[in-house]
């Protein structure tokens, strides 16, 4: 072999080695070979079987090709190999063998597909709604006597560990696909359709997911978390989610509430948010609820509900940490999560940057379209003082 050839082989070997080494990393939350739920386990068991068959077939094919290449290579003479016209036994064999192999793969595959689509009835279900570029989760039903009706959250789906929860995926704008690899396969979220799916986690934990259907500018920034809690913590979480936001007592946060009502509440809901309205004829001042109208502002017609913002770990389509690492790494965090964490836990730097100029943090169509609507959150042009006031209010939303 020439020097050039040796160098090429060495380069290829190093590249292959690096690829192999990459597989040894233990920080891979999207690993499809590390199931943490019953459905993911089913897929995992099936893919081992299929990979084993495919691997054997691959090795056999490569071996046969190698033998053929060596045995029938050009030996420098003019002799032609024996010319064969038809070999019925061989042809029958290579027709039957793949058919048997495919049948062997098809039977467990079909069984797994049917198993994965069967739904249990734990008394509640979650509607998973995709929109550019975040996920919303709406709960219906009850769990362990706790009603879940009306709970709406975003970025993080919260489930009780050990319970196989039925999901219904849909979309408000374009096609998305919801996938948390550790817990189940992916399911497309298609506008005007509801696709049934399931999710179950063996143990409490936070599992990362992603939108896996190209859905526009910030598709790569549309993440999802599936947070499994103990049954007790899940009930505590649900109770907390059904409470309206408390009116802040801190004067700065109160001012921030005013800024929120004027700037953010056009799209974002905070249940329990009120503002003082003066009747123009009588002059009487009354407290009126502030209702978001995202249908008038956004193409998707929805923006994340912020009623319990501080009971989440991420924001902005689950791409930024809402809390400081020191807070989330604390063993006490798991207990604090269901009812929301204190204000000093906030990742203030990213939150302020987001409020300052959201499209800079996450690419979005920040301009109004022909229907005078946005896709994603526009830059609001807030002053630094307004941002400080807003942050003071947001940390009260547990």
């Amino acid at each position: 072999m020439s020097n050039r050839g040796r160098r090429a082989v060495a380069g290829a070997a190093i590249a292959a080695g690096l690829v192999l080494l990459a597989g040894c990393g233990d920080s891979s939350p999207l690993d499809t070979w590390n199931p943490k739920g019953v459905d993911a386990q089913k897929i995992h068991d099936l893919q081992w079987w299929v990979f084993a068959i495919a691997g054997i077939v691959g090795i056999v094919v490569f071996a046969v090709v190698a033998v053929a290449v060596v045995k029938f290579r050009d030996r420098g003479d003019d002799r032609l190999p024996k010319q064969v016209h038809g070999a019925p036994k061989l042809e029958v064999a290579w027709t039957i063998a793949p058919a048997v192999l495919l049948a062997g793969i098809a039977v467990p595959t079909l069984a797994a597909v049917f198993d994965l689509t069967k739904q249990d009835d734990p008394g509640f279900e979650i509607t998973v709604i995709g929109q550019q570029w975040w996920w919303e989760y709406q709960y219906r039903g009850s769990y362990n006597g706790q009603s879940l009706d009306g709970i709406v959250t975003s970025g993080e789906m919260v489930i009780p560990a050990g319970v196989r929860v039925p999901l219904r995926t849909t979309s408000r704008d374009v096609i998305h696909s919801w996938w948390v690899p550790a817990l189940n396969g992916k399911r497309d979220a298609v506008p005007n359709r509801f696709h049934d799916w399931n999710i179950q986690a063996f143990e409490p934990g936070d599992h990362l997911g992603w939108c896996t259907e190209f859905c526009g500018l910030s598709h790569a920034n549309m993440r999802a978390h599936a947070v499994a809690l103990t049954p007790e913590n899940f009930v505590a979480w649900a109770k907390n989610q059904q409470k309206p936001a408390a009116k802040p007592t801190d004067p700065t946060a109160l001012q921030g509430m005013g800024v929120f009502a004027a700037q953010c509440a056009r799209c974002h809901t905070v249940k329990g948010l009120t503002q003082t309205v003066k009747d123009p004829t009588t002059g009487v001042e009354t407290e009126q609820p502030v209702i978001a109208a995202p249908d008038q502002q956004l193409v998707s017609g929805a923006a994340p509900s912020l009623t319990h913002l501080m009971s989440r770990t991420s924001f902005a389509g689950a791409i930024y940490d809402l809390k400081k690492p020191g807070c989330t790494n604390d063993p006490a965090y798991d207990q604090a999560y269901p009812t929301g964490t204190a204000g000093n836990c906030l990742n203030r730097a990213d939150m302020e940057s987001w409020l300052r100029n959201a499209p800079e943090m996450k690419p979005m169509y920040a301009q109004l379209n022909d229907d005078k609507k946005y896709r994603g959150m526009p830059a609001l042009g807030l002053s630094e003082q307004q941002i400080d006031l807003l942050v003071a209010y947001l940390v009260t939303l547990k």
Partner: protein, 357 residues
């Protein structure tokens, strides 16, 4: 014997005669159309007879005959090798269909015009290629080079369209069980026939043509039978809007109308919701969903409008579908969504629709 002109006018006369016959069978009190078609037949027949008599007013045949008697070999070598053409026949059919369609159905006219357009192109190119050289095979190649890129896709689309249409008629005419058995049997027969043919030492052309003709013939006969029988009623217990069947697979929930209060529905905002409705009341009833929506006009003025979505009237034990979209959370006091069971316009039961914020 049959000149080009005679083929054209002869078929036109026949089409007119056929149309007059069909008109006679289908119309009882209006005979103008029949006379028009018979007039077309008479006129086309007369012109067809004249062009035969005058040999299409052409001198080519006479000249060729005279020349052949003088120097047959050289004339044969240099005379254009004109191929027999069926395009006059097809063109006449197109003209006839166009005329008939003007009276009977615009769709027939469309087909007639398409046939005429195709005939013009084909006949023109064939006329040109026939006179390109004296070599008939070379001329055929020339024609193919120009027309095959047009003919193959069009014919392919027509055949594919026919196959799809024929399959749809066959499958609509039979129920699910028969369809399963039929297609298993047909598939098995095709496999067996193909296996037998593959085992033959020598495949003769007539045999292949025979098998193909029988296969296509059976397929066409099955399609014709399917058309004649019409579709079986697959959705006998299901009525509602036209999207019902498609939406049935995406039902968000089911509402049963019994005449008593309806349960509260919780639905997400801003997504299309399909509800399967079952009427268990003795009276014919319909489910009416009352939504709200803000409509903004061109000058930017917004107005709240009430929208109604209905399942259509359902007889007892019938199922229907209602599809609606709620744009805003029902926390807003102006966005209270309700739904009701109505009997002859009267509300007999009602329920709330909650849209969480």
């Amino acid at each position: 014997m049959f000149t080009t002109g005679f083929k054209l006018y002869g078929v036109l006369a026949l089409v007119g005669l056929l149309a007059a016959f069909v008109q006679t069978l289908s119309v009882t009190d209006e005979f103008v159309g029949i006379w028009v078609y018979l007039g077309l037949t008479a006129a086309a027949g007369l012109v067809g007879g004249m062009v035969v008599y005058y040999r299409d007013a052409g001198t080519g045949t006479l000249v060729a005959r005279q020349l052949r008697s003088v120097e047959a070999e050289s004339v044969t070598a240099n005379a254009p090798a004109v191929t027999p053409s069926t395009w006059p026949l097809i063109g006449a059919l197109g003209v006839g269909l166009t005329a008939i369609g003007l009276v009977e159905n615009p769709f027939i006219t469309t087909i007639g015009l398409a046939v005429v357009a195709g005939t013009i192109v084909e006949w023109m190119v064939q006329g040109w290629s026939d006179r390109a050289t004296s070599d008939r095979r070379y001329n055929a190649g020339l024609r193919g080079r120009i027309l095959h890129p047009l003919e193959f896709p069009v014919l392919g689309a027509l055949v594919a369209g026919f196959v799809i249409y024929a399959f749809s008629r066959i499958m609509l005419a039979i129920n699910v069980t028969i369809a399963l058995v039929l297609f298993c049997v047909v598939g098995a027969v095709i496999l067996v026939v193909a296996a037998v043919l593959a085992r033959l030492k020598e495949l003769s052309r007539p045999l292949l043509i025979g098998v193909s003709v029988i296969g296509v013939g059976l397929f066409v006969a099955a399609a014709a039978t399917g058309i004649a029988l019409g579709p079986v009623e697959h959705e006998t217990d299901f009525v509602g809007n036209q999207r019902a069947v498609a939406m049935k697979a995406n039902t968000f929930g089911t509402v049963t109308m019994t005449g008593s209060e309806l349960p509260t529905l919780t639905v997400p905002k801003g997504t299309e919701i399909g509800i399967l409705v079952v009427n268990e009341s003795p009276e014919p009833s319909k489910l009416v969903v009352k939504g709200r929506r803000v409509v903004t006009d061109a000058s930017g003025n917004s107005q709240l409008v009430v929208e109604e979505f209905t399942s259509g009237e359902l007889a007892r034990d019938k199922k229907g579908y209602v599809v609606f979209r709620m744009p805003r959370a029902s926390d807003d006091k102006d966005f209270k969504y309700t739904y009701e069971q109505q009997v002859e316009g009267r509300t007999v039961a009602a329920g709330l629709i909650v849209v969480p914020s």
